[in-house]
């Protein structure tokens, strides 16, 4: 017989309530503890340990996004010292989500309410996309943390609607610098190189075993991520349109499918809402097993196609408590935990209830399908167990051997969380151009840039991921005809021909991220990330009028007004840009509290907003890659180059402080992308590459060595506007592309871009030289292609 454990909160004062929250890793604020106390006061009893844990999971930042949906008092001081105030009643709803609502695109099927966002693919199918973070676990246990990160986001896509079939994964990491001296490593922190290797191995072993190609990604190194690495994992999947929604009915049975429940991942959801320190408990990290999840994937899709269940969700953060609680939100649910299959005996009922053991899904099954669905799972050796029933009493009832260990009102659980008010402030600084070195060798600078951490080849990582399993990756992460000497692609294209027959329609995945800009102004970081993600997608052929994007905010402590101020800035940019570009946000996630405390020192991450884009391409046979194709064709720069070296990689390698950040003129950018897209569809463009990290020089070099072609260019024709060679070559102005046009198509191409900024700067050449002349047609860069490729490929060839 199990003993019912009551936790005394009715007699506790404020300090004691807070202490209770802290000691049990509940991560509940005083306000929240008081709300729970008053709820139980009305009930006339104390909560059980199970009830308190359930509240902590349900109300966790991870599950409820209290900060982004909370009240924010924002104060903005402009460059002239004038202060503007604004109150957000719900930051997310008034920025990111508002853009989506106002755009009201009819091709958006399901946004911000399910486990992933879904847009229309064609008449019959939708495509779902979700990106998650798994930062805290990856800091403590890089291999397992990253593996379960990818495992979790795959289940999100499997748990959207009635289940989508995953087609591709994306991975974006931010690490500390891998060559960091040991003496600079904060105590209790793993070395960045070890974290990087562990994370890559974790994603490799889990992603490859799942048979889902990892097609797109990015790695960003900055000392600021030493104690708190960021691990973003994304999954895109395809789903029949008539399977996009779920509906639980009272009387349906609760079915748990997949892995057994163990003691791993206890408090994962709540621990992600606190800063890390040396005492952080590694048992909060889950243990993954990809093959169990692969079996779940195979069988769930089979059961879906047979129409055997009415709802599904994954057991992620908060474990069964969240999954069962969410499915039963509208009606009520009663479960018996002694039915849950365990990895080993000895778990307390509340541990079973909140364990985040992996590879589990929860389904709502109509009673009449009980035996049929069990057979589907049994047939492929997947454990499936009924643990309860959905009710119509609006109450969550958790039983263990006939004893009710929790009885909570759904209404209170899901709607009762107090809405905190937080203060945010931002003081705008005046940006001015940095002082450039009087003398500098552009060729040497280019090689330094190519070998700098954030530009250097990530081939070592890319090749460890199977990016072509399922056979549908028509545009791959590395591009160029010489398979031993390829260059970095802008976006991936997946052609789902094994699912959608007789169609050439494809899905484009890309991303944008630039934390360096965020150190100066998160508004322009966010705007640039959106522009970059769209640019990347357009480069391979995506239609810019039908791109959906996801937001993933990784920030420090939102209780600090300056941190939250930056978050508000970034959110405002999301709204402004999405509106003009016409690109709705369809899903998102935030990971706050990315901080590490040791010996009285606090390390907070450089804020990062990852924008992941999912676009469509009507005919995958018209996709293009970034490698130069034929000697003699013309090279154009499309878009305006400005004196915007602020936050650039050039400034970083030259140690230049300040500088003007790249801005985004969204209406101009939109016109550039739209015209360029038309030119691509009409077949005028031979190759196209995004101009971003390292500016024009790096983009040109990458296209040259990926195509194994020489380059003869001159900046003579570029509108200089008082800029010198360094600004033209290395400025990271947004909304720019480098394109290759065969000579006989040049006139048509120019007509397509009439009225926009573009300039022809030279030709693709035979032979192995990369030459660029300066604004006065003077000698500027003359390098061997092999040296440029060597500089790019050697740094991270671990």
């Amino acid at each position: 017989m199990i003993e019912k454990n009551y936790v005394n909160i009715l007699d506790l004062n404020d300090n004691e309530l807070l202490a209770l929250s802290r000691e049990n890793v509940l991560s509940l604020s005083l306000e929240e503890m008081k709300r729970i106390k008053s709820y139980f006061h009305k009930k006339g009893r104390n909560p059980t340990d199970m009830e308190l844990e359930t509240m902590a999971q349900t109300w966790s930042e991870h599950c409820k996004h209290k900060t982004l949906t909370g009240i924010v008092e924002y104060s903005f001081t402009d460059e002239k010292g004038k202060t503007h105030k604004r109150i957000f009643n719900n930051l997310l709803k008034e920025t990111v989500f508002r853009a989506t609502q106002e755009l009201n695109k009819k091709w958006c099927i399901s946004v911000f309410k399910d486990n992933a966002g879904v847009i229309e693919f064609d008449k019959e199918y939708g495509i779902a996309f979700k990106v998650e973070t798994h930062n805290h676990p990856s800091a403590l246990e890089p291999y397992g943390g990253a593996a379960t990160g990818i495992g979790g986001v795959i289940r999100d896509v499997l748990g959207v609607g009635l289940g989508a079939k995953p087609l591709a994964n994306t991975d974006v990491f931010c690490f500390g610098e891998p060559e960091l001296e040991w003496s600079r490593l904060p105590e209790g922190v793993l070395h960045p190189k070890r974290i990087a290797k562990g994370v890559v191995s974790g994603v490799r072993d889990y992603g490859n075993r799942m048979g889902i190609p990892t097609v797109n990604g990015a790695v960003y190194f900055d000392e600021g991520y030493t104690s708190n690495p960021l691990v973003y994992c994304g999954t895109m999947g395809i789903i029949p349109k008539n399977k996009c929604f779920k509906k639980v009915l009272p009387g349906d049975l609760v079915l748990v499918v997949g892995g057994r429940t163990g003691r791993d991942g206890i408090h994962g959801a709540t621990f992600s809402s606190v800063q890390l320190d040396q005492e952080s408990d590694v048992t909060a990290v889950q243990i993954g097993n990809a093959i169990v999840e692969k079996k779940v994937l195979d069988t769930v899709l089979k059961a879906r196609d047979l129409g055997l269940f009415r709802a599904i969700t994954d057991c992620g953060a908060g474990g069964l408590s969240s999954a069962v609680g969410e499915l039963g939100e509208e009606c009520g649910v009663r479960v018996s935990l002694e039915q849950v299959p365990l990895k080993y005996p000895g778990l307390k009922p509340w541990e079973i209830w909140i364990s985040e053991a992996q590879e589990r899904m929860v389904l709502a099954v109509p009673k009449k399908n009980k035996n049929k669905i069990l057979k589907v799972f049994e047939d492929e050796n997947v454990e499936a167990t009924f643990i309860g029933e959905f009710t119509n009493d609006g109450i969550l009832t958790v039983m263990y051997e006939n004893e009710a260990l929790a009885e909570l009102d759904m209404e209170f659980m899901h709607k009762g969380v107090p809405r905190p008010t937080r203060k945010a402030s931002w003081t705008q600084k005046h940006e001015k151009a940095g002082k450039l070195p009087a003398k500098s060798s552009a060729g040497k600078d280019l090689k330094t840039l190519l070998s700098s951490l954030n530009i250097a080849s990530k081939e070592w990582i890319i090749r460890q991921y199977d990016h072509e399993v399922q056979g549908q990756t028509v545009i791959k992460p590395l591009q160029g005809s010489d398979i031993s000497k390829q260059g970095p692609g802008d976006a991936a294209v997946v052609w789902p021909y094994t699912i959608v027959k007789n169609s050439y329609k494809g899905i484009v995945l890309s991303n944008g991220l630039n934390p360096e800009f965020g150190k100066i102004d998160p508004y322009w970081m966010a705007a640039s990330a959106i522009d970059e993600a769209l640019r990347n997608a357009v480069c391979v052929g995506a239609d810019p009028s039908k791109i959906a994007i996801l937001d993933n905010f990784c920030w420090g402590n939102p209780n600090r007004p300056d941190q939250l101020g930056g978050l508000v800035r970034a959110s405002l940019a999301c709204y402004d840009m999405a509106k003009v570009f016409g690109t709705p946000f369809i899903s998102g996630k935030d990971s706050l509290h990315n901080e590490y405390a040791v010996k009285g020192k606090l390390y907070s991450i450089p804020p990062a907003l990852l924008i992941s884009a999912m676009g469509l391409i009507e005919d995958i046979r018209k996709t293009i890659t970034m490698d130069f194709k034929s000697p003699g064709s013309l090279i154009y720069v499309v878009g305006e180059t400005k004196n915007e070296l602020g936050g650039s990689h050039y400034n970083k390698i030259k140690n230049i402080k300040g500088g003007i950040l790249p801005k985004v003129e969204a209406s101009v950018s939109k016109r550039v992308m739209s015209s360029l897209h038309k030119a691509i569809v009409k077949g005028f463009v031979a190759s196209c590459h995004d101009c971003s990290e390292g500016g024009l020089a790096v983009a040109l070099a990458e296209m040259a060595f990926a195509g194994n072609k020489g380059v003869e260019c001159s900046l003579f024709n570029m509108p200089a506007n008082k800029m010198g060679n360094a600004e033209l070559m290395f400025s990271e102005s947004n909304s720019r592309f480098v394109v290759e046009i065969e000579a006989d198509k040049a006139a048509k191409f120019e007509r397509e871009l009439a009225g926009l900024n573009f300039v022809m700067i030279g030709r693709v050449a035979n032979g192995g030289r990369f030459t660029v002349k300066g604004i006065k047609n003077e000698k500027l860069i003359d390098e061997a292609l092999a040296d440029l490729h060597g500089a790019w490929s050697a740094r991270l060839a671990w």
């Binding site: 490859n208 075993r209 692969k294 492929e380 591009q479």
Partner: protein
């Protein structure tokens, strides 16, 4: 004519089953993805099919060693049916993990009683790698002279001297337990594909992506009906699956050379 039926055998961790099915369908077969349990339970009969395909993936997580558990399951639970299928000279193909399974259950290279004489072990680079490779079809033996015998290897009929395909594996280095086994494979002309550098010349890493002995990428048995290879022909059946446009990749129209292997199997099964 009745279309031959291909069974795409899958189990926990199989992950190239959809595209392998698609390739066989393009080649003119009727193809079914079938879980091994259905055969063990007797719900599906292997003998109802004319072609058996073991697709890529990580069967049972590649725990113990790649393909080992599925190999044992086939050998000890479906041994008789597999043997009948093989000795009826029906086409059997194993791709990547499927090749690992065929070698570990001994049906390749195909010694008496399916004795295991070779294996596919960890890549020399000691990591999983995904990349495109050049493959040279069977012809001159590795020591500059031709094999003593010629196997009727219908799988590569009509293929050009050199083709491109993608590989993606961590355990793809072909080695034999004794050098005599290797000599036998070579003398019999059982090697179907070797990794090569562009132009068909002797490869170094990364053109030999795993350090395989004699650059072996794929072999068949002595009767030619069983074929295993590490590269993935099912990932290159359409022209636009290629990493770069190249006329040499195309059979005709939009079909790429990977498809030819499936066409040849269907033809042999008809």
């Amino acid at each position: 004519m009745k279309k031959p039926r291909a069974i795409i055998l899958r189990t926990a961790g199989t992950n190239c089953d959809y595209e392998t099915k698609a390739a066989f369908e393009m080649a003119g077969a009727l193809a079914d993805r079938v879980h091994i349990n259905s055969i063990i339970r007797g719900e599906v009969k292997l003998s109802d099919f004319q072609i058996l395909a073991l697709p890529g993936g990580f069967s049972y997580g590649d725990d113990i060693a790649s393909g080992k558990i599925l190999a044992n399951e086939l050998k000890y639970r479906l041994g008789d049916e597999i043997r009948k299928f093989d000795f009826a000279s029906k086409p059997i193909i194993g791709i990547c993990n499927g090749f690992q399974v065929l070698v570990k259950m001994g049906i390749l290279p195909g010694e008496k009683d399916y004795a295991q004489t070779a294996t596919l072990t960890f890549n020399d680079s000691d990591k999983f790698e995904s990349r495109w490779v050049y493959l040279k079809r069977q012809g001159a033996g590795v020591r500059g002279k031709g094999p003593k015998k010629a196997v009727n290897n219908f799988w590569i009929d009509g293929m050009p001297e050199v083709i491109r395909l993608p590989v993606a594996h961590g355990e793809g280095k072909f080695v034999t337990i004794e050098s005599s086994a290797l000599n036998k494979i070579e003398d019999n002309g059982q090697v179907a594909f070797r990794y090569c550098a562009p132009g068909g010349v002797k490869p170094e890493y990364p053109f030999n992506p795993n350090g395989s002995t004699n650059d072996i990428a794929g072999i068949c048995n002595q009767r030619g009906n069983v074929f295993g290879l590490m590269p993935h022909p099912e990932r290159f059946v359409h022209a636009w699956q290629s990493p770069s446009k190249d006329e040499a990749d195309i059979i005709s129209g939009d079909s790429a050379w990977g498809l030819k292997i499936f066409i040849n199997a269907v033809k042999a099964a008809e």
